[in-house]
């Protein structure tokens, strides 16, 4: 890994900040390089490339935080910037009654990078175009009764490099290559209308991820299933029935209703005006039961090849698995050094930044519901009548992460313990408390799906994985679209 910036430049900025009486100075070089190909059906829309690189400086002065960023790497610009950051933080410190403090941590000096069996930088535009064309032609030839008027594919390589140094001893140099594929498809039937799907593949690693995902096959198989839903899908049952959710839906649910409400900055109200607060109160930690024995949700940034992968966070703290909910108990929030200090604990390494120009804030990495032992067949064998929801399109959740909705896309009736005819647009609305208290069983089929999670001011999108097994829930009333 060849560093794109001279570390001594970053240390000069740290030193200058300290000379100006900053209690803490953190300087982060970050480079994000992306190459992408976007196609519509069998035509190229564009070949795109972007390079964002620069330096973000965060200072703590008289108990107030300041952050400044520039894409200039000139020494004089950076020294001037740290002076401005200190000056602004100092000016606003008079408006703070309680000083901001950071937790003391054992910080590391470390370099790490993600292995690539096939270097992503060698995954060239020509291969991307070929893959996109394969995805379209395979999908189009897979469907029989519907048309596929629109299939938009975006294939994106992202190489992220960072160097974080802090005034209290952290030095973390990292290189994380990521690959992401999104496919937006519209199925059209002259009498039955349309059905739309957004499918994503994402992870960290090299070009070998393509072989693992086999996206052309996965997309075409899914189009066949969705064709059945569009052509033959029935309304969901009117009576209350058992609901079984697939890993994609479960992953999204735990991201939204376990990951987000367990972000300590949200619990404390720091994101109150936009991303919102949390139903979780500080006093719930370690004492409040939100669910039953199946409700164990982990966030683990260290999962190999994950989309939300990192080993050290942007404050230099080593990452580790965090048990957000443990057998139903609200257990451990995600912390950075600021929130850890308030909770009087150590940071668990959840501080992430989208790019050099972004303040590091508390974020998820890879969040999942812990799987069980049984097979999918065993999970549904005792269901007389139910609905299995495998994928979704529409979803949302309120700003305290309690009231949520998911509208199924690929879904099936479960009859006498087996999957039966497809169901169209089943609407699930429930609260966080109901979901985690009504899990009747989980199977062993843990799957992850990628996403870009949004939070912060200005909004920052960071890559994450969310996942889980198939989950069986108590009987509930399934809604329909208005």
């Amino acid at each position: 890994m060849e560093l794109q910036v001279d570390p001594t430049l970053l240390y000069r900025v740290v030193d200058r900040g300290r000379e100006l009486n900053a209690q803490y100075v953190e300087v982060r070089f970050q480079s994000d390089y992306r190459v992408s190909v976007t196609t519509r059906n069998d035509r190229i829309l564009a070949v795109s490339s972007s390079k964002s690189s620069g330096i973000g400086i965060r200072v703590l002065v008289n108990g107030a935080l300041g952050f400044a960023a520039t894409n200039s790497t000139s020494s004089s610009d950076l020294l001037e910037l740290v002076e401005r950051a200190v000056s602004q933080a100092s000016a606003t410190s008079r408006l703070r009654k309680k000083p901001i403090e950071f937790s003391d941590e054992n910080l590391s000096s470390i370099k790490y990078s993600v292995d690539e069996k096939k270097r992503l930088e060698d995954f060239n535009v020509e291969e991307m175009i070929k893959l996109a064309m394969d995805i379209y032609s395979t999908a189009r030839s897979a469907v029989r009764e519907v048309k596929l008027p629109f299939l938009v594919t975006d294939i994106r390589v992202h190489i992220q490099e960072k160097l974080v140094v802090t005034s209290d001893g952290a030095y973390v140099e990292s290189r994380i290559p990521r690959l992401h594929i999104s496919v937006l498809s519209t199925l059209l039937h002259p009498q039955k209308g349309t059905l739309q799907r957004s499918r994503e593949f994402g992870g960290s690693g090299g070009g070998e991820l393509i072989e693992r995902w086999d996206p052309a096959r996965a997309i075409s198989e899914e189009q066949v299933a969705l064709e059945r839903v569009l052509v033959s899908g029935i309304m969901p049952p009117r009576e209350k029935v058992t609901v079984v959710l697939g890993p994609e839906v479960v992953g999204l649910i735990v991201h939204e209703s376990a990951g987000h409400p367990m972000e300590a900055d949200r619990i404390l109200g720091r994101e109150a005006s936009q991303a919102g607060e949390s139903y979780v109160k500080p006093e719930y930690i370690g004492s409040y039961k939100i669910g039953n024995k199946y409700a164990t949700v982990v966030d683990d940034p260290t999962l190999p090849n994950s989309y939300g992968f990192y080993l050290y966070d942007d404050e230099g703290v080593k990452a580790r698995p965090r048990y957000l909910y443990k057998e139903g108990l609200i257990n451990e929030p995600l912390h950075n050094r600021h929130t850890a200090r308030i909770f009087n604990v150590k940071s668990n390494g959840a501080s992430r930044s989208m790019n050099y120009a972004s303040e590091p804030i508390v974020r998820m990495g890879n969040t999942y519901l812990v799987p069980g032992e049984m097979s999918f067949e065993e999970l549904i064998e005792d269901v007389d009548l139910g609905v299995y929801v495998k994928s979704y399109m529409e979803w949302n959740i309120d700003d305290i992460r309690w009231n949520q909705r998911y509208v199924g896309l690929e879904a099936y009736i479960i009859r006498n313990g087996e999957l039966a005819e497809p169901v169209r647009n089943p609407v699930l609305e429930f609260t966080t408390g109901w979901f985690y208290s009504n899990i009747l069983g989980v199977d062993r089929n843990l799957e992850f799906h990628p996403g870009i999670c949004g939070k912060g001011e200005p909004s920052q999108g960071v890559p994450v994985w969310f996942g889980g097994p198939n989950v069986k829930l108590s009987k509930m009333q399934i809604g329909v679209l208005a």
């Binding site: 035509r43 190229i44 829309l45 564009a46 070949v47 795109s48 490339s49 972007s50 390079k51 964002s52 620069g54 300041g66 960023a69 894409n71 200039s72 910037l81 401005r84 950051a85 602004q88 000016a91 606003t92 408006l95 703070r96 009654k97 901001i100 060239n124 535009v125 008027p149 629109f150 938009v152 937006l184 209308g193 349309t194 109200g269 720091r270 109150a272 005006s273 936009q274 991303a275 919102g276 303040e359 399109m393 529409e394 949302n396 959740i397 309120d398 700003d399 309690w402 009231n403 949520q404 909705r405 509208v407 609305e429 429930f430 609260t431 109901w434 009504n438 001011e457 679209l481 208005a482």
Partner: protein, 444 residues
């Protein structure tokens, strides 16, 4: 005029014109400051100083779009060398059309407020005003942000177009908390306004304290009042779906319509208004050098035009609407004309229904059909017999954009310039009254 950015853009255009048939270079230099407020105190002050370079390169109908944040043109030129190497491996872009011929540069004027630069050095005065003003309504705490920006924009093309302009941006929003209840308001402009800061705090505070009652809510169809924040969020989705690229990719309800179709009640018009220099999305020329102009997307209920760049216009047999976006056309500022209802009589005139003051998390099940839901936040109030009876908590609108636009019963005369986390295209919007809209809330 930004000589550094202009010189850089010219230089890059000239150099790359030797390798490519067409070159457009867009340079955007931004200086920004944001103070974030948490529990009545600044939680962080953030500053940015950056130069972004965007390139549109074409050769034999093949199209590359590049974005760089760098002060070093040599880095950029090295990457473009890589791009040209694969030219024979790729096919023509479906979205290629020649850049427009030379045109006279007509930048917007009057969109820059020097006070924005001044207050970048003294933001604490503005923060204090927002916090004190909000707390004076009797609330317990306030969160929010104040953002100030100076934006310089330069475009040069190999067709000889050169233009530059400068504007300022001012964004403020606040959320007020009183016990379990909250209120929210937001404002965006090219000019700083102390009265707007006070108004944001005052309205947030009023909605947080408007009633202390909590009442039961039964899901079903209701007549609703949507605040300008909700209108701003939902009609931003409509405007994005009016981008010709959204139609070409199937992610638009406008895929089903053609200009001239009646798609809303006659009282609704929706304009893209880049020439309104008071709104922060203003600009005089788009990313292809086409002069911008205000235009109706929907006028008196009738779908009027999609938003185009030269490529989508060429593909659909029409003219650019000055909304480039090199790949996707996009709206700049949005404007919904007011109606004849008085804001202070909306609740009385609604008689029975729900007043939704803010929302977030709008998601679509199907863009082609315009099926969506969105969640209320802050005050959502049950109205009975023309009076507020209490908060109904966090509820959800679950409907279609078609139904929403066809069921509009009235719009307020008063309009507000809103811009915040959930409204990213600045919008001047009224309150809107809509009949028979499905509202839901989990029953478990």
């Amino acid at each position: 005029m930004n000589d550094l950015a202009l010189d850089l853009a010219r230089d890059i255009t000239e150099k790359l014109s030797q390798q490519f048939d067409e070159v457009a270079v867009l340079a955007i230099k931004r200086r920004e400051l944001m103070v974030k407020i948490w529990n009545n105190e600044p939680s962080i002050t953030q500053m940015w100083s950056r130069l972004n370079l965007y390139l549109r390169l074409a050769k034999s109908g093949k199209l590359w779009v590049l974005a760089y944040e760098t002060h070093k043109p040599e880095v950029l030129l090295k990457h473009t060398d890589e791009m040209i190497k694969v030219a024979d491996k790729i096919t023509e872009s479906e979205l290629y059309a020649p850049l427009p011929d030379y045109a006279v540069c007509k930048p917007v004027s009057g969109a820059f407020d020097g006070n924005v630069e001044f207050y970048m050095n003294y933001p604490d005065e503005l923060v204090e005003s927002l916090v004190v003003g909000t707390l004076s309504t009797g609330v317990d705490r306030v969160s929010g942000t104040i953002t100030l920006s100076r934006v310089e924009r330069v475009l040069t093309t190999s067709r000889g177009y050169e233009c530059s302009e400068v504007k300022s941006e001012f964004e403020v929003y606040a959320r007020a908390f009183k016990d379990e209840f909250t209120g929210h308001w937001a404002h965006g402009s090219t000019h700083i306004s102390h009265s707007a800061i006070r108004e944001v705090g005052r309205r947030a505070g009023i909605y947080a304290t408007i009633t202390r009652n909590r009442v039961d809510f039964t899901p079903g169809e209701y007549n609703v009042i949507l605040s300008p924040l909700v209108v701003g969020n939902l009609f931003e989705y409509v405007a994005h779906m009016a981008s010709a690229l959204s139609v070409l990719t199937g992610f638009s309800m406008f895929s089903k319509y053609k200009p001239g179709d009646s798609i809303a009640t006659e009282s609704l018009s929706l304009y893209d208004a880049p020439r309104d220099t008071s709104l922060p999305g203003t600009l005089g020329f788009d990313d292809e050098g086409v002069e911008t102009f205000n235009k109706p997307i929907i006028e008196k209920g009738v779908f009027t035009t999609l938003l185009h760049n030269v490529a989508t216009a060429s593909k659909m047999g029409t003219k650019s609407t000055g909304n480039a976006g090199w790949i996707g056309p996009r709206p700049w500022n949005l404007n919904i004309p007011g109606g004849d209802m008085r804001e202070d009589e909306l609740i009385r005139e609604l008689r029975n229904g729900v007043f939704i003051t803010n929302n977030w998390y709008t998601r679509l099940q199907n863009y082609y059909e315009g099926i969506f839901s969105t969640v209320s936040r802050d005050a959502a109030l049950l109205i009975k017999n023309g009076e507020i009876v209490g908060h109904i908590g966090r509820i959800r609108i679950a409907s279609t954009f078609s139904k929403l636009m066809k069921n509009i019963q009235g719009l307020s005369r008063e309009r507000y310039d809103v811009w915040w986390w959930e409204v990213r295209v600045p919008m001047r919007a009224p309150f809107i009254v809509v009949s028979n809209i499905q509202l839901t809330k989990p029953e478990v």
